[in-house]
Symmetry: C2
Subunit: 385 residues, 2 copies
């Protein structure tokens, strides 16, 4: 085939494609050499275009936003200040409607909304990039959960070389927050990239990372299961009533029967963010001889509430057994402006009162994915030595 | 924890979340009982809102679109006619800007644009849904391609029960089109759902489906590889110059070394759409004793062009060897309004002239995913008997 023929084919199809979906050639976002970022939108008929990004300081509960300026060519633009290396999310608001940047095809779903993404590499953010290192595999599977009465979807990271080795590996169970699912740590948490890069750098042991779905009434993430496409809710009923803790053995049985894993306490870790921190806390005390490594990332802890849920049955007794059985690491991380900060202070007081040891990490910022990616990349290097 | 405490937590976080990302409670799209669909957008300040969907008849190269009507509450809406069961895509245009429906978090990337999705179930479209049947696994892995000089990402579907069985399985190599990658058949093609449902219905043999990346200069899909996030192009250089055909043995070696597969011709199939049809055509004649089943879906065939690419070397001779070696099925599908229709007519004339047998399937419609999902679900039941 001549180059001309290829070009003719390409042009014919591209016109169709572009006409069909209105693609344009505007460059947005453009990451500049000084690490500022320029956003552009061709919208000659719009009256107001704003951008809201997670690098902007929030105004109370309301995120910061800034107006784009309209050029004479009908292209609106805004250039940010210099940004630190990080994975960033943003959205545009066009004449009052919150929407995406049509020139950026990369977006992640967080609960019920899509948000555009870009990465400014360097430092910590290099852990979030796909670098030229050996890559693990990421599998979406279904396992039988008799406790939940259904087949359930689960995401499994196996480290580079797993398929061709005969070794057995340690396991990290990594749990999502409210509104999340078995996709959250992969998409928003960059867990596969963080693991690949830490392992390649000799900073983490090769391990299997198991990312189950913590919403016990779901078989799978929204759009991936029998409920089809629907609008996800932040709180899914029954996710914090003890059912997940009771049925977590189904996940472990599946993993330990189906993968070459080490099945002793010293090779099992469990960690989670927000609601997943609640789950990690309670699962680790429900099965107090099971995990040597526990990570609570911005955990949703409400120890001083009036307890009626079965999940709190014998809270102190099981915690004490967990402490007496011993563990290598009980890691608690929270941001200074997290709305759960006070709850974590109270939980630490409870642990201090019991003499239960833990490692405490306080970061800047609030209840955000930026912190959870940092916590994961700090937690994982401490496992399985 | 009391229900009250959970609600307080939920409400606190939801307010933050909604404020942060501007989520709203508008219901869109709403699939009505009569299979019409209502789209809604809260946009009191917008002057014009239009919807463009792939169920609308195109106007030349320009897709059909229709204006939404503004209600007194500032909510724009439109109700479609009754739609046939199908997976549909659509976008909104707000004051001239092509964007997504902010109330629908489900979207797929096709080349460089995101498009919202919904499914109307029933009939053929039930194959595209996640039904209560055993599910296979979908793995994203990386394999070594010495021919391309890099590690490359690949998507592998293994059928239900693969992990716990000792059987060997047949393999279908399933190739994407220009602008696609190793994600295309999974996301836009619903390949995992189609396979699960056909296998569960006894209509297809359990098989492994291998979905490689046909753009030889990429290590992975845009956003999933070392190039990071960038705007994907429709035509990637060197994808149709013979390199992919020459290096396809790297894919097959990886699969046949790493999976329990049957490695004879009668248990190998190859199929692809558009550029992937071009690849399937040429790979199957490059290795004329390798595949018993060949599927060309809206294949990009340009046999009468002035040939300078090495991919056409000994075209007739290798085709003849392929014919003489024999095969079970050489399946050609094309839509009546496909811009490649005439090329397929010419290729069929060539095959007729050689006496090379094939099965021909002509459908309505053009160069669209709707057809490729149908072709896949018609092709797969004919394999490996």
């Amino acid at each position: 085939m001549t180059t001309l023929a290829i070009m003719a084919l390409a042009e014919m199809h591209m016109s169709a494609q572009q006409a069909l979906w209105g693609g344009s050639d505007t460059n947005s976002p453009e990451i500049n050499e000084d690490r500022s970022v320029t956003f552009r939108l061709e919208a000659p008929d719009a009256r107001e275009v704003k951008i809201s990004g997670d690098w902007m300081p929030p105004e109370g509960w309301v995120p910061g936003s800034v107006a784009l300026s309209k050029g004479e060519d009908g292209i609106w633009s805004h250039t940010s200040g210099v940004l630190e290396p990080e994975l960033y999310g943003y959205s545009l608001t066009i004449d009052g409607v919150r929407t995406l940047d049509p020139n950026n095809p990369f977006a992640s779903r967080d609960i019920s909304t899509l948000t555009n993404l870009f990465i400014i590499g360097g430092g910590q953010a290099d852990l979030y990039k796909v670098n030229d290192v050996p890559h693990g595999s990421v599998t979406r599977r279904w396992y039988d959960s008799p406790g939940n009465g259904m087949e359930r979807r689960i995401t499994i990271y196996t480290p580079p070389g797993y398929e061709t080795s005969v070794e057995s590996y340690p396991v990290l169970y990594l749990l999502h927050g409210a509104g999340g699912d078995e996709e959250a740590w992969i998409s928003l948490g960059r867990a596969a990239q963080i693991m690949d890069n830490l392992i390649a750098g000799g900073k983490a042991e090769p391990m299997i990372v198991v990312m189950p779905n913590g919403n016990v009434i779901q078989d799978a993430a929204p759009g991936e299961g029998s409920m089809g496409y629907y609008k996800p809710q932040f709180m899914v009923p029954r996710t914090m009533d003890g059912t997940y803790e009771e049925t977590f053995t189904d996940v472990m049985k599946f993993v330990e029967a189906g993968y070459r894993v080490k099945t002793d306490k010293s090779h099992r870790a469990i960690a989670g963010l927000s609601m997943g921190g609640f789950h990690a806390l309670h699962i680790s005390r429900y099965y107090p001889e099971t995990f040597d490594y526990i990570g609570l990332f911005s955990a949703a802890i409400l120890p001083n509430q009036n307890v009626t849920s079965k999940v709190y049955n014998d809270f102190d007794g099981t915690l004490r057994r967990q402490m007496e059985n011993g563990y290598q690491l009980y890691w608690i991380g929270i941001g200074k402006t997290d709305f759960l900060y006070k709850n974590v202070v109270e939980y630490r007081e409870k642990l201090d009162g019991m003499g239960m040891p833990y490692t405490y990490r306080e970061s800047e910022g609030g209840h955000i994915w930026k912190n959870w990616r940092v916590y994961l990349s700090e937690f994982v290097p401490q496992l399985f030595h």
